[in-house]
Symmetry: C2
Subunit: 374 residues, 2 copies
DNA sequence: CTGAAAGCGCTAACAC
DNA sequence: GTGTTAGCGCTTTCAG
């Protein structure tokens, strides 16, 4: 069969066009394009000239198909708009880049069905490995991964196997330190603001939420001797809106002097509710967030929050994944510590009863700027 | 040549494996997998069973290569972590999904080199069309697109051609309304807080920034008869940090009663600076943002901001791109209106001279805020 | 309705 | 060094 050349008059130029123009074989073009050094300088220059002249861009599908393997890592997160996830994605991408891997990103909107679909897509993409940093989880997804023996790494899922790792974020320690910090300041009535990303499913499948909640409960138990009491509210939605509503509900039901939010966006909403109702944070109520997102520094008051070191997480995830891919390293459990970042939003509790403050709280007009309360 | 079957013992199952198991040809498998209806129910069931049994996932590279065209739209933004861009990406993705297109997302970190690289990648991916929603721009990228006759749509770039569209966001109107709003409230000394995403390049290539700045200048000119004076500060960086610094600089240099920030994250930083220094917003200084990001509602005071309707933008972009792809529609200029969303952060200027307020400003307790400077 | 087979554009042995 | 060529896994006419 004569070396096909094509040029049906349309379509982007292919490797044959370049080869013909440079008067070399496609193998040589391929070698040049892929930066191999076994090509003579003169030949190389000719090829490069042809590439430039034709504006040749290799067809990635053909290339990946022929290669039979990819330098691609899949990354699945719950919501790219959420800063927590987008910051993680950013860190992982960066780390992958230094190791010469590309990242295929997929977002699930907290849906388990989307998680499975995303895993499918990653398999279709023949990724070398996949990191699943989602709040929701799915047995089916794990099953698929296992069947394909695809190196994978989860956030918070308990199962470590030969091909599956997971990073264990120390929620327990972080929450404990937050509670301890509040208790040490003198707080005894502490609220936990929890929120599920979706209305359905009762949150059973949102492991990190369950873990954080349990951690809170355990911490409270630990401080029971000092007379600590705990309250909890839950609202659907992952963001500020949920936090806003949740705080509204909490104020109408409980009396507390401090609150811990399960995530910073939730804290943001809670803070807004408090300030809008005329409460001063932290004077009337102390507030602690979780995740230490970039927002914390720029709120007033700046938000005390539990930090999850994203850069370290990114490094760990990519490193471990690459080890699994390239050295057939078995799955492992990777601990990741957390720490409390103290800012302005928590202080000692007010001496007066909260109730008093609440009922006489919302004084000043809501008009413009509902603060300056009390 | 005998129909190859493979099974070298490893690797994911391919279409031959499925065909063999289902005792049909690969053509039939392909038809079933792609949801074509010209397959008999019984055959189909057999195929589906085989697919399930083998956990068959089609190799997307092979499929795209064979197909010769993709249902893929490229989307290039400047920074996925920035809510403005991630919200746009979200809207575009959603819209694309309803039209049965996938989105390949790429982020440039405001770098022109990365922009060109991203366009290259999109071409390598053989996307059907590409939307370039970046702050920076690059002639070289435009050149490539034009050479490939690749349907494209830019944000804010002036050149409309046969294959290239652009959406024209009405910065002019938005800024004008913001300025007018402040002027009507009684402000006469207005600051514009601008920030470039990178230190280099003097911002020449950040069109939307230039457009917004020019719009501000023109609005001020329009209100010159009423005695309006304008000031400008610029800081490097796209986010709150830049806004924070910029406001610091502005306060040390100018006297003003209101400020317009070029983007909400910048406004956030500026707001924080003001509040940390003891200024009350809007009592002492009014502040207006730009983009109307989700944050605006949750800040205290909530932030008055110019809205760019993201959902509409997403719809327009995808619709136009699909028209260019499927009907060879020529490029077009798509106008997108903006509107001022009034919230709490702007009000009438204080009657006293600003200077006086500043020096005696930090009254209320800052307790554990390490500021109170000046 | 189903099967056979010719590519899609590129890579990687293997020869020269 | 460079060229030849057999696939990579799938889609898609075209026969039957």
């Amino acid at each position: 069969m004569a070396p096909r050349s094509r040029r049906r008059g349309a379509g982007p130029p292919n490797i044959y066009d370049v080869a013909k123009l440079a008067k070399v074989s496609t193998a040589t073009v391929s070698a040049v394009v892929n930066g191999q050094d076994k090509v003579e300088a003169g030949t190389r220059r000719r090829v490069q000239a042809a590439v430039k002249k034709l504006h040749y861009e290799p067809n990635l599908y053909a290339s990946n198909l022929a290669r039979g393997r990819t330098k691609l890592l899949g990354l699945i997160v719950s919501d790219v708009v959420n800063p927590f996830f987008s910051e993680i994605a950013q860190c992982i991408r960066q780390e992958a880049q230094t190791r010469n891997y590309e990242i295929a990103l997929s977002s699930t909107q907290f849906s388990r069905a989307d998680l499975v679909a995303s895993v499918r897509r990653m398999i279709g993409l023949r990724v070398a490995g996949v990191a699943i940093m989602t709040t929701e989880r799915s047995e089916q997804a794990v099953h698929l991964l296992r069947h394909y023996r695809l190196p994978a790494i989860f956030e918070d899922v308990g199962t470590v196997s030969h091909t599956i790792s997971n990073v264990r974020i120390d929620y327990e320690g972080g929450i404990f330190r937050a509670v301890k910090y509040l208790v040490d300041l003198g707080h005894r009535r502490i609220l936990f603001v929890r929120s599920y990303p979706t209305v359905s499913s009762e949150g059973t499948h949102f492991l990190s939420i369950r873990l954080r909640t349990q951690a809170f409960e355990r911490a409270v138990l630990h401080f029971k001797p000092e007379g600590v009491q705990a309250f909890k509210v839950t609202c659907p939605g992952p963001g500020p809106k949920a936090g806003f509503q949740a705080m509204g509900e909490a104020l109408s039901r409980y009396e507390f002097t401090a609150a811990i939010a399960i995530a910073d966006p939730v804290a943001l909403g809670a803070l807004r509710y408090l300030q809008q109702r005329g409460y001063s944070v932290p004077r009337d109520i102390s507030l602690v967030g979780f995740d230490n997102s970039y927002l914390c520094d720029y709120l007033t008051p700046s938000l005390t929050s539990v930090n999850i070191p994203r850069d370290k997480l990114g490094r760990m995830v990519v490193e471990q994944l690459v080890r699994q891919v390239e050295e057939q390293a078995p799955g492992a459990a990777l601990p990741l510590e957390t720490e409390l970042i103290v800012r302005e939003s928590a202080t000692r509790p007010p001496s007066k009863r909260l109730n008093r403050i609440r009922t006489s709280g919302a004084v000043s007009g809501k008009r413009k700027a509902g603060d300056r309360s009390k």
